[in-house]
């Protein structure tokens, strides 16, 4: 379905999968996502029967609970043309991993595959499906962008946010060294192996500081909270935001960390 077709027929109906971290910690990202999707011509819905994509259970080896959660998500969202999440790792869970949960269960496997094919990460959905080139936002800032692992390596998200950010007027991108290297979050990893996680995020924060940027952006709230928490602990002023907030021009809410000075 091309965007011109959808516009001439009807607006694509998008189910926003807000993700549990956005829901609990950073509602602004949810509203920014809604604005970006609506500006791109989507009819946005937020089904109430959503909690989490199931990654914590999935990555702890609890397949039974993961599957129950996945069934619930599929049931709540499969009516939409697209399911969009402002997170590479949650979107990848929906898009890449859900079908694996139902291997051998023919009926559910087909259903999961049909569902997964409609799932997208927010920024890549805007650029690759809705063909958005410019979100019309403006911000005077020198930003650096961290490539969150799942989005980068499972969904090939790398150029898309940079293209949109490149068109934000007044914004300058200062690439950090190793922007594609893990920040050490890793879901439960960061508490199970907190010392190692700390070593990894310390290196990351060093690269952020060295980039000369006064704002850090990324597309995953987990990574952002990890890096923000470390920056804050180290007394850094680097402002931390989800990329959607900047692209939507919604930066009035206080940042996740930092003052940007």
């Amino acid at each position: 379905m091309t965007s011109s077709e959808t516009k001439s027929v009807r607006q694509p109906r998008v189910g926003l999968f807000a993700t549990c971290l956005v829901d609990l910690f950073r509602p602004s990202v949810g509203f920014a996502s809604v604005k970006l999707l609506q500006d791109a011509g989507c009819e946005v819905h937020v089904p109430v029967a959503q909690t989490c994509c199931g990654q914590p259970a999935y990555n702890t080896g609890d397949r039974a609970d993961t599957r129950e959660i996945a069934e619930q998500v599929i049931e709540a969202f499969e009516e939409f043309d697209f399911i969009v999440a402002p997170s590479g790792s949650c979107a990848s869970m929906l898009r890449k991993h859900y079908p694996c949960l139902f291997e051998g269960d023919t009926a559910w496997e087909e259903r999961a595959k049909a569902f997964s094919a409609k799932c997208h990460e927010l920024i890549s959905f805007l650029t690759d499906v809705m063909m958005v080139r410019d979100t019309g936002a403006a911000l005077n800032a020198r930003i650096t962008y961290h490539d969150s692992c799942s989005g980068l390596r499972e969904l090939n998200i790398s150029e898309q946010p940079r293209k949109l950010l490149g068109n934000v007027s007044g914004l300058e991108i200062k690439e950090m060294t190793d922007s594609h290297v893990c920040c050490g979050f890793g879901g439960t990893f960061c508490v199970k192996y907190s010392e190692i996680s700390n070593a990894i995020v310390t290196k990351k924060v060093g690269n952020i500081d060295a980039s000369g940027a006064d704002m850090l952006l990324a597309g995953d709230l987990g990574c952002l909270m990890n890096m923000a928490g470390k920056l804050k602990r180290q007394g850094s002023d680097v402002e931390v935001r989800h990329v959607a907030e900047v692209l939507a021009g919604m930066t009035s809410q206080a940042p996740i960390a930092g003052s940007g000075k």
């Binding site: 807000a18 549990c20 956005v22 829901d23 609990l24 910690f25 509602p27 602004s28 990202v29 949810g30 509203f31 809604v34 937020v46 109430v48 029967a49 959503q50 909690t51 989490c52 199931g54 914590p56 259970a57 990555n59 702890t60 080896g61 609890d62 397949r63 609970d65 129950e68 959660i69 619930q72 709540a76 692992c149 390596r153 499972e154 290297v181 893990c182 050490g184 890793g186 879901g187 990893f189 960061c190 508490v191 199970k192 192996y193 907190s194 010392e195 190692i196 996680s197 700390n198 070593a199 990894i200 909270m225 923000a228 928490g229 470390k230 804050k232 602990r233 809410q253 996740i256 960390a257």
Partner: protein, 478 residues
């Protein structure tokens, strides 16, 4: 070596504060990553070759019994001997028997992870035979009584000052005032010392990167030339290799060789790629009088047909650990097992059982960089997750994590209850965050707040705020 995989956390804690180690670990990122990328970028067919290499191994594994039979037939026809070993113990016994028959007092060894896996050196020593490691890195760690911390760079955890100290301690026959301050002088000294050992050795033991069914050849891929001296100068050459090293043909070997060195060291080809087929022949002026291959199973056949079969495609290039943020942070010894890093986190539980090794497949952020660079396209994170599933099924997951997860899953599976709990909890959490909007310490979140602040939530949940906005819109509409 003693398996301490389940002491991973304690091992890692020590590693993180070991200044020498941390300095040396910087060389892993510096030394390997850029070189691999450059070599891969210079070959447009690189990714297609990776696909082909994967397919070759998959084909081989699906016909492994037949290729092994053909390989054995060809080795025997070339005058070599094939010995089958089901376990590490069997392999040790077979090698010892060969050494004893050759009246061996010393054996030289080319670098081989498989002989680490079967703890061959300890066994030979216990039986009065001196093993001499000849790869520079292996030689250094043998002097130190250590095990490799990396599968292709065994001494990558050391700095040159440490090596100098070891050489001065052991090479007491050399002038004490000699200059050993530079790596090149250390290398020269090792070269001189080891030269004599090759000629004195009765048996040379190597591993194999490939065993070729078509020709009955064993292949070693090296840079130093020590493996070749080991297998050429001894009277007896013993190859110890696991059953999945088989490839069908010379052409198949060539395909995989094109991705091996590039992935490992960033070379287009390693310096020496040697194909050995049987013992010295009638017209040969050099080469070993006897050629033995010990084919080791040690748990591999049990991986076939399971979700871990793909691991048998591994060609031991080390790219996964070279690109692993966890390996970069703690180094190879922290894993407490023969094979460190992501490939070890998958293979070690297969070899030693998940009960004793459960920490390893958990110690990953699932960043996926290992899979992204694996020349054989082994889905390492997926297999680590499968090990976590085995662990969870068997109730081996630590109780705190298990109950925490269950409590979370209880809410995650009940959207209404979840919304209710969140609508109460998050405003409170937000309130406690205060004007600084962060937590320096929070009960039950010690793993997080020990090292970083926890950004405070905004207040209302997104779902609450969204519902309110929609309700206002509706009102306005009426």
């Amino acid at each position: 070596m003693e398996l301490t995989a389940n002491k991973f956390k304690a091992n890692a804690s020590k590693a993180l504060v070991d200044a020498q180690l941390q300095k040396a670990l910087g060389n892993v990122e510096k030394g390997f990553i850029g070189k691999r990328q450059k070599a891969a970028d210079a070959l447009p067919e690189f990714d297609a070759l990776r696909d082909n290499a994967r397919d070759i191994k998959n084909h081989t594994l699906a016909h492994l019994d037949l290729y092994l039979e053909e390989y054995e037939r060809k080795v025997t026809a070339a005058g070599g001997h094939v010995h089958w070993a089901q376990t590490a113990e069997d392999a040790r016994r077979i090698v010892l028997d060969i050494c004893r028959k050759a009246n061996a007092r010393t054996v030289t060894k080319g670098k081989s992870m498989i002989t680490e896996e079967i703890a061959l050196n300890d066994h030979l020593e216990a039986n009065g035979i001196e093993p001499v490691e000849t790869d520079l890195g292996e030689y250094i760690i043998q002097l130190r009584g250590e095990h490799p911390s990396h599968i292709i760079a065994p001494a990558v955890h050391l700095n040159k000052e440490q090596v100098e100290g070891d050489f001065r301690r052991v090479h007491t026959h050399l002038a004490s005032e000699r200059d050993l301050s530079e790596p090149v002088s250390l290398l020269s000294e090792a070269r001189e010392v080891l030269r004599q050992r090759y000629f004195a050795a009765d048996v040379g033991i190597t591993g194999a990167n490939f065993l070729i069914a078509e020709t009955g050849s064993s292949v070693i891929v090296t840079n130093e030339g020590n493996g070749d001296l080991t297998q050429t100068l001894g009277k007896v050459h013993v190859v110890v290799a696991s059953i999945e090293k088989i490839v069908p043909t010379l052409e198949d070997t060539s395909q995989i060789l094109r991705v091996l060195a590039r992935s490992a060291t960033g070379q287009d080809m390693s310096v020496y790629t040697t194909f050995s087929t049987g013992p010295k022949r009638e017209e040969d002026p050099d080469g070993p009088d006897e050629y033995h291959v010990v084919l080791l199973d040690n748990g591999r056949s049990a991986m076939l047909g399971t979700e871990y079969q793909d691991m048998l495609r591994c060609i031991r290039c080390g790219a996964c650990m070279n690109h692993c943020p966890v390996y970069h942070a703690v180094g190879g010894h922290a894993y407490g097992s023969v094979y460190p890093g992501p490939m070890g986190a998958v293979l070690t539980p297969s070899l030693n059982g998940i009960d004793e090794t459960g920490q390893l497949p958990n110690a990953s952020t699932f960043c996926g960089r290992c899979e992204a660079v694996c020349p054989m396209r082994i889905p390492l994170p997926k297999m680590m997750r499968h090990w976590r599933e085995r662990e969870f099924e068997r109730n081996l997951t630590p109780a705190v994590a298990r109950y925490g997860l269950k409590a979370w899953a209880f809410f995650a599976k009940r959207p209404k209850l979840y919304r209710f709990a969140a609508s109460l909890g998050m405003p409170l959490l937000s309130l406690f965050g205060g004007t600084s909007r962060r937590f320096h310490a929070l009960p039950l979140a010690g793993g997080w707040t020990r090292y970083r602040d926890l950004p405070a939530p905004e207040g209302r949940t997104f779902q609450q705020a969204w519902a309110q906005r929609e309700a206002l819109k509706q009102e306005a509409g009426h």
